[in-house]
Subunit: 450 residues, 2 copies
């Protein structure tokens, strides 16, 4: 049940994780949580640009998966969940990783991340370990609810956002007056006590998922699996991923989780190799059957017209939001030579997910007043930056480095002709645009309809 990793392959791109981590810290995308206290392993904070990137990815997902469709509704369930949920789902029994300790160096590893010679595949690659036998280590974080700390009060932080969808299935279907086939979507935090968090935010202990459970008639499994695989690939393409950096990878029969009948990963070619950013799974009726059994509540469905009763099957699409953001950061990064010895760092975010949509740059501080007025107008629609310090070339570089699609230079002529210079990030081409047209021009370029 724990996430399986595909065999890693080295990335051909020139971007390294060190460069991404450094940019993220320097410009405030993502940095270690509790940094002033030495950090806390496996936990990350999103800074001013990171939160805008992440919110844009989540909004794009919600728009595509919920708002655009009449057959999907959303929910937002509690993170702390009834403990029986995880008995039914199998997590209490099975959601564990094999853990080994090294008697020599006292470090702890996941047994399935060591090769046969007992070498760790992380940085300390060459050292050999004196390992204990693997023990199962349950990855769920637990806490106690109420004033006593006995077993009755144990509750778990959800290790995935999908199970509450199953426990809420019957009520949500009824209140939303939906008929099978239909789906329930959720975006939210999940927690796993990873033995060895690593690769920046890729494997962290607190993370965000965007999941859809789509409930169908058993006879339509192949059709809907294909539908959702296609939809999810389209989604990632529209997010701006380069084609050669994405692939689908079907799970082999011996790789499938106990609940899955078919599974296909969307993988991105990170600097540390091909890794999953999303899974599309045919979960069959495993979850609804188990929750029916454990709760005593019948979760089957009766078709109002045919009167047929059946337990719906479920196609799941499960995206890691943090992983997708990390992949987008890697995907966007370029050190581009734009002149002899002149290299700019530029993030080629697709405009819809760029943290800052436009920057207003007055050519002189004397132009602050009208430039600020323009900034205020644009802020009603988008996240906008204002920068009046340093020469204009340097200010362009600052915006390039965080992926701002448009720089709007307000110069002395602007006061007279009512125009600003719009400089496009990727081509660096400039054009003169009337301020009165700016909102509609930007809207067209920032919010294309897919």
């Amino acid at each position: 049940m724990s996430p399986k990793s595909a065999p890693s392959a080295p990335s051909t791109s020139s971007v390294t994780m060190d460069k991404i981590v450094s940019l993220c810290a320097r410009r405030g995308f993502i940095f270690p949580s509790g940094d002033i206290y030495g950090g806390i392993n496996g936990f990350w904070d999103y800074g001013p640009l990171g939160v805008e990137l992440k919110n844009a990815v989540k909004a794009f997902w919600w728009q595509r998966m919920v708002r655009d469709r009449d057959d999907v509704v959303g929910i937002d369930s509690a993170i702390i969940t009834h403990p029986r949920t995880w008995d039914a789902s199998g997590h209490t029994e099975n959601f564990s990783d094999p853990m080994v300790d090294c008697r020599a160096c006292k470090k702890r590893f996941r047994a399935d991340q060591l090769d046969d010679a007992g070498r760790c595949d992380a940085r300390d690659g060459s050292s050999e370990h004196d390992l204990t036998e693997p023990r199962n280590f349950n990855l769920m974080l637990q806490t106690h609810i109420g004033a006593s700390a006995d077993a009755a009060s144990v509750a778990h932080l959800r290790p995935e956002t999908c199970q509450p969808i199953f426990t809420d299935f019957k009520r949500v279907r009824e209140v939303a007056r939906q008929k099978v086939p239909f789906g329930i979507a959720q975006v939210g935090k999940a927690f796993r006590n990873e033995i060895t968090p690593r690769n920046f935010t890729f494997r962290s202990r607190e993370f965000e998922q965007a999941e859809l459970e789509f409930f169908i008639h058993p006879s339509e499994r192949e059709k809907w699996f294909a539908h959702w695989l296609g939809e999810r690939n389209r989604f990632h393409t529209d997010l701006g991923f380069a084609k050669e950096s994405l692939r689908n990878r079907a799970h082999a029969a011996d790789e499938l989780a106990h609940y899955a009948n078919a599974a296909e990963d969307v993988e991105y070619l990170f600097p540390f190799g091909w890794q999953e950013i999303e899974g599309i799974h045919d979960r069959g009726d495993w979850d609804l059957r188990r929750h029916t059994e454990y709760s005593g509540k019948d979760l089957s469905y009766t078709d109002a017209e045919s009167k047929e009763s059946f337990m719906p099957m479920c196609i799941e699409t499960s995206m890691g939001v943090d992983r997708t953001c990390l992949a987008l950061l890697c995907n966007a990064y370029e050190e581009e030579e734009i002149g002899e010895g002149d290299v700019r760092t530029v993030m080629h975010f697709t405009p819809e997910i760029a943290p800052i949509k436009a920057a207003v740059l007055p050519l002189s501080k004397k132009l602050a007043e009208p430039a600020r007025a323009l900034e205020r107008t644009l802020r009603r629609s988008w996240n906008v930056a204002y920068d009046e310090s340093g020469n204009i070339g340097r200010r362009y570089r600052r915006q390039d480095e965080v992926g701002t699609p448009f720089c709007l230079t307000f110069d002395f002529e602007s006061v007279d002709d009512g125009c600003v210079t719009v400089r496009e990030r990727d081509s660096m081409e400039q054009e003169r645009v009337a301020i009165t047209d700016l909102v509609s021009v930007l809207r067209e370029r920032l919010e294309p309809v897919h």
Copy 2:
């Protein structure tokens, strides 16, 4: 440090909590988490309409507090926080409620919620209790990180979203290139192990906060406190609260939390009395001083021009998102007599926060195709419902009950004249609008600029 309650006063409105709870369950706004397993006290799930309402309130807050301003930036920090955070903030020592047990009925209470005669003010109002002496009970939920369960691995679920703002203060200020005065905002989950969760979602164990910490020069405290009190009152007015249901209440000196120099609550008149939905606090430099002391990192600020170094003071605005949603549900609710013996339940949500913005209602199933096409067009911009079952009056009532501002009736004439009937929720007035104008007409009415 635990939230203080103002003296309760009975609501004059006719809405009761039973009606709100019932509507929320029936129409899928909010219902008990883990319901099929008997629920879990103090935890709630938001259904399809609830998640849209909550997301709209959060988006409105983010727009007003972050996007509209050039002196505020956002973050999204981890829920599980470095344990030293709470030592520094005082939570480890002080964040507790006085707990008493009844030796007779074995129930547990907050001592400050019982009157002098030892009567509980909840439903079992009249019974007297045989109470133990009060003991302090820390409200933070804790968990263990890593593979061992010793003291070193203890970590807490944040009981408030503001402390990570303080621990990230220095880095965020630097990466965002902000000068004091400026603010850092965050929206996210927080957890408190309330002894007696009650009043539906009002006092729950998992909840969402929207907080701003605004850092200022010590000489400007009164000015900025007044500014933010005004801004926050304007915000709640714009959310659509009736004037007579909102009030400000300044904390008396003996009521102030240990970190606060001044505090004013925004209270809403719930069916269970006046209660806080937001607090505006002058926290002074308590937090930055304590984190400087506990981390050994200097969090003071040096003004680049005057070269003055000082510890910034902080004005906080702290809104309970779930409480605000609950207040909005109470505020919106009306049972309106619209004819002899004809009563409709209508939710008067202000359009910006209405979960569904418009409903497309074909007068006949034969019109499904063009009506569905209209629905698809509108879905690109808003959350839209489609309903073709039952007579049109009944369909209007369904939408009234969830506060949909506009019903768009597609009839047989629509095919010829390219118009639909737009029926406004509150006035129930109808007008004929060209389908080609619909997006701009709706945009104007749904997204007014405040």
